[in-house]
Amino acid sequence: MTNLTAGVLLFPLLGFVILGVTGSALPRRMILAVAWGACGLAFLLATISFFSMLGTPPAARTSDQVLYTWVVSGDFQVSFGLLFDPLSATMLMIVTGVGLLIHIYSAGYMEDDPGFWRFFSYMNFFIFAMVLLVSADNFLFLLVGWGLVGLASFLLIGFWYQRRTAVAAAQKALVINIIGDFGLMIAIFLIFRQYGVLNFYNNANGPGVFSALDPATTGNRLQLVIALCLFLACAAKSAQLPLYMWLPDAMEGPTPVSALIHAATMVTAGVYLVARAHPLFELAPTALTIIAVIGGVTALFAATIALFQLDIKRVLAYSTISQLGYMFMGEGVHNYSAGIFHLTTHAYFKALLFLAAGAVIHALGGEQDMRQMGGLRSRLRTTFWTFLVGTLAISGIPPLAGFWSKDEILSSLLAQATANHKAISYLLWGIAIVTVALTAFYMFRLFYGIFMGDYRGSGRASHAGDEEEEEPSRRTAGRFTIHEAPPIMTIPLIILAVLSIIGGLVGSFDLISLSKWRPLTAFLAPVFADVHTMATASFGVEWISTLVSVGFALLGIFAAWRLYGRGFQYKENKNPFYQLLYHKYYVDEILDAVIVQPILWFGRTAARVLEGDVLDGGSRAVAGGLRGISAGLRRLQTGYVRNYALAILIGVVLIILYYAVRG
């Protein structure tokens, strides 16, 4: 089997270095050549490795390249190694493939941005960091990749650093991600303390954690703590409750960044980590239940917020959080390959939705408010059709990609419920089903708001008669012409739309016949071979789950059509429930009041009391005391020579007396 992971890692790094060092001096054509070349070569090498893997028998599909030894301490070793197995191969294909499409799209979107080279340099850096994350063969380098993608996210959210809000959002993302990094570090320390190794699996350089696990320790408190610390990291990176707040704010970054990092790849790192570390989670069933519950609550919570948002990117951001919740629900009921499957299809349709939203924003000169849109179906034809595909896919309408992956998670949930008959399992399935309806509703609300009805914005609706005017400055409201994006932006949209339609075909078709056609599950099987706890759905359960979910999706679409089918109309709504959702459950306000303000108060008080009264006051007291002492002592220095002589005499007499008395 050919394993070219090192090359996949190397080229984006080279691209980042070249662009970072010389980018400002290069012409745009060269910048694109380097950025696209780096990403394209990475994708090419990943594809070659992937197909070579398909040509090997399933048992021999794992290869662990140890490039060099990083740390040696006694018999503890950490090597820099690249793990290439079906799971990382899937992730590599998504990261480099979707990454390449978004690199191409960005050339159009960022065309007139002065930070063109900086943008592509960061993007290549992100690809490098993400490849490192998914191909590291031990926890240490996983942590390195984990931290670097956080850094890339920080840099790209704050890309327009002149905007105060963008900088604040970048800081928020970084701080919350660091809470997660902290969890990951604690987990790594605990793993090291317990097992003494950090490799995932046995490799040339020593034993691995997952190979050393003892099934007898299932349910052990330490296993639970390790699993929960790992999940803390996942929750921060994948924007799950209670650490989701950074993702909606991250929409301050350029839209291609939102598509690549905050929808398709980086935020799925948490889903990847749970799948990668599944042997640890399998030993902590309580942690898996917690994951499933948090995933479910997050899915519902984010979907309800998305219902009434007006900023189109924020709707998509909350829908990303909600879909990530689905992935964790799937993993929480041991169906890891379903989580990865949904990750894959979500990468297609969510990247598609973001890029299409980007095309809309591009066409409207930076406008992101739904109230200023509408009626764009005839002007942005390609965007309209591709956005429709993405909307149908995320709503779970058969036979699009989102349907198959979501259906697999839903039927797993129901299968789990029928297997263990716990109320909470049924409740989770119910939550997931309700969320399906909400998803369909808010996505179609968004769709109708952007494309249907009449145009409500202030931009001129056509090019006619405007030719003599100067080049319209596109960032000024009302001074632009609505135009379809150039082909460099629409071609990635079309490719992603095709993937969103057919992407589900790699999943399982249990509805038609159980276990006949399930390429992705079979492909991932060697990785998840040690999972025996998954409840398998019977034929009837599959059909019940599917019919109910499609029914709820159609219900959501119908409701959206009834309310917004003739075009979106914004009305002030005083309903307290609406206000609660519109203000995102006031989470930001509550956090501000509960955490931010007390800390600020503490800081200000500390500045006044601790620094002013205690520290400054203390040094002032010392100075005053010394001044008092010296004021007394200086009296002795009279300036009269005879006084000094007398003092010397007294001193001498005293010394002589001392020796005389002592003998």
Binding site: L633, T638, G639, V641, R642, L646, L649
Partner: protein
């Protein structure tokens, strides 16, 4: 003559010198008192040296005489220059170097 006689004379001379330094205000007199103290010490040196049959004490006397001469030179120079600026050399008036 016994050694104690020399030492008693020496002690009296030294005390006279100390009292002179402490109570007189004319720097010339103070200098003379200091000389008196030094010479009182010299007297004890010579007396004890002769008693012990050793030349060490007399060696010290020469050194003390040299130091005393040098000290007087410097001291008188200072007094002369103070007298030139102030027309007065009372030590109790020279108290500017105080804390």
């Amino acid at each position: 003559m016994p050694l104690s006689a020399y030492l008693i004379v020496s002690a009296i001379l030294f005390t006279v010198g100390v009292v002179g330094v402490l109570i007189r205000r004319n720097p010339l007199i103070i200098f003379m008192s200091i000389e008196l103290m030094l010479n009182a010490v010299n007297l004890s040196f010579v007396a004890i040296s002769s008693k012990l049959d050793s030349a060490d004490g007399q060696m010290f006397v020469f050194i003390v005489l040299t130091v005393a001469a040098a000290e007087v030179v410097v001291g008188l120079a200072i007094i002369v220059s103070i007298f030139r600026t102030r027309r007065d050399i009372d030590v109790d008036d020279m108290n500017l170097l105080r804390g």
